[in-house]
């Protein structure tokens, strides 16, 4: 699979969580790439929903960074 195709798949996975109301809650970057922790905004009674995505492509890391910027700007 080409780098671009891999990126498109990663982007779709990221969008999947964002579209369902998840927020980027944490990022771990290491030798294997980036691990994004998504957290669903739930009301206090519901169980917290946390998902993790492993992003391997450079464009994928740029993409979630742009989404994080948007997320932070929307809060402030």
């Amino acid at each position: 699979m080409g780098e671009h195709e891999q990126y498109v798949i990663e982007r779709e996975k990221i969008d999947y969580f964002i579209d369902r109301g998840y927020k980027i809650n944490g990022v771990l970057e290491n030798l294997e790439g980036a691990f994004i922790e998504f957290k669903m905004n739930t009301d206090e009674k519901e169980e917290e929903s946390i998902e993790t995505l492993h992003i391997k492509t450079a464009n994928g890391r740029k993409y979630f960074s742009a989404l994080l910027l948007k997320q932070i700007q929307s809060v402030s």
Binding site: H4, N25, E29, N30, Y63, S65
Partner: protein, 426 residues
């Protein structure tokens, strides 16, 4: 015609082209001949205790048919008595009062030695002094030249000593044989330098003769490292000038040199902050008359843009030079191949396939003719294909619309740092 007069820390000259301290400025005969040809200034070959030279002294690096792409020398400073040089400086200045005559100086790192030579040089009527903290060979083994220039404390201290005695502007010439030239440039400023100049030559061995197995050049079967200059070092010099120009603590004018071979190179150095340029190798390769082309080319360049004075371009590109961390990660260019110009040599395909990102496909058009096409989604815009392409206009690098907002590495890391749970492991 645009005004080409320059002023470096109070040293004026009719144009920005100075001969650097080197073999072309060894004597009054040569410097006067250069001024007659049109050079604006000359930095006299370094004065100090007369040395002994060896034979041979120079070597050139030729590359793919270009002679003197790089130039290496193991010649030292002047081998003539100080009195002889000073007499010729006096005569030269008397004959060419409007031209800049600078004395390059190198003595042991002792206060009294600097005081003595500064006073003697100024008594001969020089317009300024250039402290040679750059020569990498021979003199460095004796604690002078780059041996001094690699230690910021020695640069600062010796600059201070020279300034204590000097009445004319003091330029400190820096060695590139150091990781960060701004460290020594800052030291020169702390010592009171009125200007800095860069770069001196780079440690080098020009080559090894694969038949005799001897270094090039060799002296009776032995070689030693020399100083490298010429067109090959220009990018290194230009970066060092630029780094100093954008450093707010180096708030003195810069005289730029290192591979300046034509008027275009001079424009580049001046746009990146040099107040003038010094030239050696190009003059050694082609003679003093190259200054005609330098002046004419620079003058036309300014006139075509309606720029009245050379002063108006100095430093204009400095704000565009930054750290890598301040570059936009989301800006994209891609390669586009113009198949009506392309000669199908396939060099771009091979370069991309073997050494870059495998995004140039070899295809056939509707008529079965071979064509090359870039898969733009996989192209990272590295430029390699356009660099190796032998045909002008066959490959264009095209800016593509930005899908993501501008974001630099520094901004990204700051953003990630703002997350409560962010870890970047190393």
């Amino acid at each position: 015609m645009a005004d080409l007069r320059t002023n470096l820390a109070g040293i004026t000259s009719p144009n920005p082209f100075w001969l650097a301290s080197a073999p072309p400025t060894n004597s009054g005969y040569q410097v006067q001949r250069a001024f007659e040809a049109g050079w604006g200034g000359a930095v006299w070959k370094t004065l100090g205790d007369p040395i002994l030279n060896v034979s041979s002294r120079y070597a050139a690096v030729n590359f793919n048919g270009q002679r003197v792409a790089g130039f290496n020398n193991i010649e030292l400073i002047t081998d003539r008595p100080l009195e002889v040089n000073l007499k010729e400086i006096y005569e030269t200045k008397k004959r060419f009062p409007g031209h800049a005559v600078i004395a390059s100086l190198m003595v042991e790192p002792k206060q009294e030695a600097w005081h003595e030579i500064v006073k003697k040089a100024e008594a001969a009527g020089v317009d300024g002094l250039e402290l040679n903290f750059g020569c990498p060979h021979g003199m460095a083994e004796r604690g002078m030249g780059s041996a001094s220039g690699q230690v910021p404390e020695l640069v600062e201290k010796q600059t201070t000593w020279a300034k204590e005695a000097a009445e004319t502007p003091v330029i400190v010439k820096l060695t590139p044989n150091i990781t960060d030239i701004t460290a020594t440039a800052e030291a020169a400023v702390r010592g009171g330098a009125d200007a800095v100049s860069m770069i001196n030559t780079i440690n080098s061995l020009a080559g090894v003769d694969i038949d005799s197995w001897l270094p090039i050049p060799n002296v009776s079967g032995k070689g030693a490292h020399g100083g490298y200059c010429g067109p090959a070092v220009k990018p290194i010099a230009l970066n060092m000038v630029s780094e100093c120009a954008r450093n707010s603590r180096i708030n003195v004018p810069i005289s730029g040199m290192g591979g300046v071979s034509n008027w275009q190179n001079a424009v580049e150095f001046m746009l990146m902050g040099a107040s003038n340029v010094q030239i050696c190798t190009a003059a050694m390769h082609h003679g003093f008359r190259i200054v005609d082309d330098l002046i004419e080319g620079l003058s036309n360049y300014l006139d075509e843009r309606g720029i009245l004075s050379i002063q108006d371009i100095i430093g204009k590109s400095v704000p565009t030079y930054s750290d890598w961390g301040n570059l936009d990660l989301n800006y994209n260019v891609v390669a586009r191949i113009n198949n009506d110009v392309c000669i199908n040599c396939n060099k771009c395909h091979i370069a991309c396939e073997d050494t870059s990102h495998q995004c140039i496909d070899m295809l056939n058009d509707g008529n079965g003719n071979p064509i090359l096409r870039v898969r733009e989604e996989d192209c990272v815009g590295c430029n390699l294909c356009s660099i190796v392409c032998p045909v002008d206009g066959a490959i264009d690098m095209i800016e593509v619309p930005q899908e993501l907002p501008s974001m630099t590495w520094n901004e990204r890391q700051s953003l990630l740092g703002s997350l409560k749970d962010c870890k970047i492991t190393k």
